[in-house]
Point group: none
Chain length 207, copies 4
């Protein structure tokens, strides 16, 4: 997901001094912390560099600009949200919803949402990123649904994409609403809401 290097396991060593190993991660961590503390306006490249104990040029050597850094920092923390397999569709969806609630509860996850919105507003520049974040998350639901179909829990012709969108979107809206009064959801609330959400999506409102 990183902008800075291809994932091809190229063992080729370049000539000069190699890039400091820990720097990448230290910068990303610093970026998330800075964003969490100061919000978007107050998120400074100088601040990130200082907190990471790194020169600004070291940051700009790896990321093109502020957006690219935040983008990368943010997508690093949303990779494993959907890696669940509880044996039942309802269980899988509940676990996913809980993970999503927790992810968007903390500033890093929230920052990701901000970046996604930006990216969608300027798709020619950041298009690839949003795909990585958004569609991947919807995809997990598709995989869960396929397992459910294989188990006979779900009709084969049911399009699961809409379910994913509902769950993903509902979590966002609820987090949005909940952040307004300055507080965030407790773990118990998250469990309750996740169950209600999944029940609605699976059983419908008119049952």
């Amino acid at each position: 997901m990183s902008t800075s290097q291809g994932s091809t396991g190229e063992p080729r060593r370049s000539r000069g001094r190699p890039r400091t190993p820990g720097a990448e991660q230290r910068i990303i961590d610093a970026a998330l912390e800075e964003y969490g503390e100061h919000g978007w306006s107050g998120f400074t490249m100088d601040g990130v560099a200082r907190r990471a104990g790194v020169g600004k040029s070291t940051v700009y050597l790896r990321w093109q600009d502020k957006d690219a850094l935040l983008t990368d920092a943010v997508s690093a923390s949303s990779d494993t949200l959907g890696n669940v397999d509880t044996g039942s569709l309802r269980g899988d969806l509940r676990a996913l919803a809980v993970n999503l609630f927790r992810h968007y509860r903390d500033p890093a996850g929230w920052a990701g949402l901000r970046v996604v919105i930006d990216a969608a507003g300027a798709p020619e520049q950041l298009g690839g990123f949003t795909q990585a974040v958004t569609e991947v998350q919807v995809d997990w639901v598709v995989q869960m649904a396929e397992r459910a179909v294989a188990r006979g829990e779900l009709a084969a012709d049911y399009p699961p994409v809409e379910m994913g969108q509902c769950i993903y979107g509902s979590v966002i809206v609820q987090t949005l609403t909940r952040r307004l009064d300055g507080r965030t959801l407790t773990d118990e609330e998250i469990e309750t809401r996740a169950s209600a959400l999944v029940d609605l999506v699976l059983d419908g409102a008119t049952t």
Copy 2:
């Protein structure tokens, strides 16, 4: 929704030169156009003032800062989204979903979403606004559901807030995804998706 003055139809004339009548609207239009063309990073107050043919002080006389202007410009276009009454719950929800899709399809509505995200990230500053935008939209669903309960379409104990969150959120996620490849949804697609979404919410996935 304007920040600058109460809506009380006060006919009282102040002493000095009255504010130029068209200015308010010209500025809002300019703001939406600038945002639509350049996105957030590229949306500058100087740019808005120049495009509106107005001095910067004229803008700052009416809005406190950049956020307030964008907020106002944006929320002016989202007031009537839920004013529908088709006689059936399914029809109401479909109409609402269609309106939401259309709203978030153009840059003005999209900008609103960004402002909401920002506001939620800094609730102490912009909290009031997000309430106006977010909860109001969910509220419409509540009213629709109440009418449906009165008509006997829906069980009285069913909590409609989740339905609103699902619909609202799903539209957001779908718009997000759709903006990625540089194109937006056609009206036909919107109709199809709105129906599918409402069916899912009303009937559930496991029917």
Copy 3:
């Protein structure tokens, strides 16, 4: 000599807010002080702006870059060096030499010399400036010599430009040499050296 405005007494008022009157001078003073304290490497635009109590944009609104500011600041302090008229050629030249010695003794004057050297190295960019500083100073000697010719002190056909170059140059070289051991010339030394210099130029070495 200022880069920022023509000297034509144009009473025409421009439209916006007029430039703060004292700013120009405050910035120049700050520049000379900063240069005097920290030298060239250590002479910072941020430092100048801060010391002058002024934003950086205010500085860059008036001067194109660092060089232009230092150039202007420096040439402002060398305008009256040759305004002397003692009644005799020898007296005039002595007064000029004393003034030059004193001028190059303090950091502001010295900075001017550096700028002149730079300018001569890149004449396409700063050519006009060096003329203002260098040739004007030589010119003073020409005027002194003309007065001397009118008084009958000097042969009419004697080219005075060489005299000016000798005096100007000798002061530079002596100041150069003297700054090496970390100390500068006292006023008495200046008087002595000025006399010796003028005597040499007027009477020659082989008298």
Copy 4:
């Protein structure tokens, strides 16, 4: 004159890879060319290293910093300026003046002047260098004068230092002025000016 190592012809071989033979000279040449083309502001160590086809560390291995490199590059070409003996004082001085004119005409010599100015501005760091360049040059005049005294051309009590300063300084000022219009002196002009200068210094203006 190199900063990096004594000139003692030590035939002792050190242990590792020997220094690339041509590097020293290639770097010096590159430095002079870079200075000649871009002037002081535009003279960068990266540029020198690249032009010399050498790593930056190779440069810093031999010279302590930018000043040291330029200093060295520059002083290599000013060693033999005063090695003249024509048999008469007037002839010696003329030859010296001609050499000086020629020296300061090309960028290398000019760069030396710039370095001298810098050095005088920060004597604690570069003091030794300026002495080497400045006083040595004045010294030549002293030696010429001593020979002249021995020949009976000059009164024994006449202080020759002032003569040297006059000649040295006048050449600088004239070169300064001449570089302004983008052109430099021709050899004929140099001869003429050298003669006029020496005549002034030897015979005085009031003869």
